[in-house]
Symmetry: C2
Subunit: 318 residues, 2 copies
């Protein structure tokens, strides 16, 4: 439903002098303190609405992990723009019995992560009701000096790169992942990147979105996809015929950075591996941006075949 | 629960160089674009989390009114700071059957109000689940040139004033009220105000909060409280012994401005009635800020008796 709704919403939104970038990317860009480019500040803003039973199952986990995730997914959106998070506000809708205790536990997951990334908790709204937990976190931040990294900047010939390894996040990574905030800041400081997104709904689905926003196509070398050990484990656990590669291609919530860069820069990044030492996050080149729209796979012999985007579509989960 | 939780949260939040004003007022203040006072911009930010069955009953109303309210309550918080709203982000958690239609209807209530107040809809997050509608709206804006109006600024001797008339909002006003954004901007431009809050949880409860944040007391002349016709109607409908005055004192969701000003300025405002012509909103002086903490009522003979704050306590509704 989300894609259809987003298209409808974008058609309804009038342009606004303060809105540098509207809905449809990982975050929006708003100019505050005056509409002129010279005054004030550009603000990167993103919101995520998470809930019990959809984004986590409170019954089986420490609520602190759920609270942490609610902030972390937003930090990942800010990272996808290569921006620096500054502050967050939190809305809680708590199931009534035990609401106070749950609110405190959620914050005990939120606060350490906020401190780790120097994010101010600026405020919140806390309510109770008779239904499961819903949490809204809005994070705002500052774009990097060279400008935010958008989904729409990919250029034909760019290499496609991804941090870390993918798949099987359901086994725990989706709660405990480290948002790639510092990694993104380091990358845009040292290299020229063209486009970026975080892998939240699945590698192929998110890559297809990036390509569509850029008006280009994307071709993946499946043999080069970095597969997380959890993807292997999940495939074995499920024993439903799915492979580890399937999970790397389609599982959501890896929260790795997926980005494109001109070949020279990309080559330099892959050689330098600037994230390896401080962050333990390898970068892998997994494909190329091509002119022909859509998502493609490249076989070992160079032949190109269509690749169906797979991933988590919001609102379509059975 | 909210007051207890807020006290807990405030004790846990470390100071942050970017956070000029943390949780506890109608909105928070965050400095963006650099920590120095000279660079960047100060951002006023507020979030509200509304839900079906708590803040409105979707079954009985046009969803557009619910959508409008979700933005309007936030605009009221921005107005309480005498700030100018600039942009909003919206998080939706939609009950699954008919989710797309509901999302569109909600936005058809949000968008006209956003346009009316020149607020950019910067983005959102839209999800579905098996439970009732929950909506989170975060609004950010810019403080007025002379600085935001805080709850904590009231001074002994100030007059206490309120816009419009109070009580009975349950009969419809709570959905269709006009946030006092323009009124607040006009007031801070022309007059010196000391403290402000919006009447969201009940006149006496919100006034008690303002007084507590300012470290002062507040004394109300009950005979001077402007009572809305709806307060009369509600008292008659309920026929539970409550009076129209009771509703004016304790009903939530009037979303009028409640503020304090030095006597000279207050006298000038009451005489000028600067909001009458453009907005049809009278201003009424209803009491005084006093040194003795707590909430008080002043009888016709000047005698002062304690007044119990009444209103809507989040999380305590049966």
């Amino acid at each position: 439903m989300e894609a259809e709704f987003l298209a409808w919403l974008r058609s309804r939104l009038p342009p606004h002098p303060r809105l540098t970038l509207g809905p449809g990317d990982d975050a929006a860009l708003v100019r505050l303190g005056g509409a002129s480019q010279s005054a004030g500040a550009e603000c990167v803003v993103t919101v995520d609405m998470l809930s019990d039973g959809v984004d986590f199952e409170l019954e089986g986990i420490d609520p602190r992990r759920a609270g942490r995730k609610c902030l972390a997914v937003n930090l990942s959106d800010i990272a996808a723009m290569a921006a620096r998070p500054v502050a967050a506000v939190v809305g809680l809708l708590l199931p009534r019995p035990g609401a106070l205790k749950l609110a405190q536990e959620l914050y005990e997951g939120i606060l350490p992560l906020a401190e780790q990334y120097d994010v101010a908790i600026a405020g919140g709204d806390t309510n109770t009701w008779e239904h499961p937990l819903a949490v809204s976190v809005t994070v705002f931040g500052e774009p990097p000096p060279r400008g935010s990294l958008l989904r729409s900047g990919a250029q034909v010939g760019d290499w496609i790169l991804v941090t870390g390894a993918l798949g099987g996040s359901l086994l725990g990574h989706h709660l405990d992942f480290e948002p790639r905030v510092r990694e993104a800041l380091l990358l845009v400081e040292r290299y020229t990147l063209h486009a970026g997104i975080d892998v939240s709904d699945g590698l192929t689905l998110d890559l297809a979105r990036l390509a569509a926003e850029s008006g280009v196509g994307a071709a993946l070398r499946l043999a080069d996809i970095p597969i997380a050990p959890a993807a292997d484990r999940l495939a074995k656990q499920l024993a439903d015929g799915s492979t580890a590669l399937d999970h790397a291609l389609g599982d959501g919530e890896d929260f790795e950075l997926l980005f494109t860069a001109p070949p020279d820069e990309a080559r330099r990044m892959v050689t330098d591996q600037p994230l390896a030492a401080p962050f333990g996050a390898p970068m892998t080149a997994i494909g190329e941006v091509i002119a022909e729209p859509g998502l493609w796979q490249i076989a070992a012999d160079g032949a190109r075949r269509p690749l169906e985007p797979r991933g988590y579509l919001h609102g379509s989960r059975p």
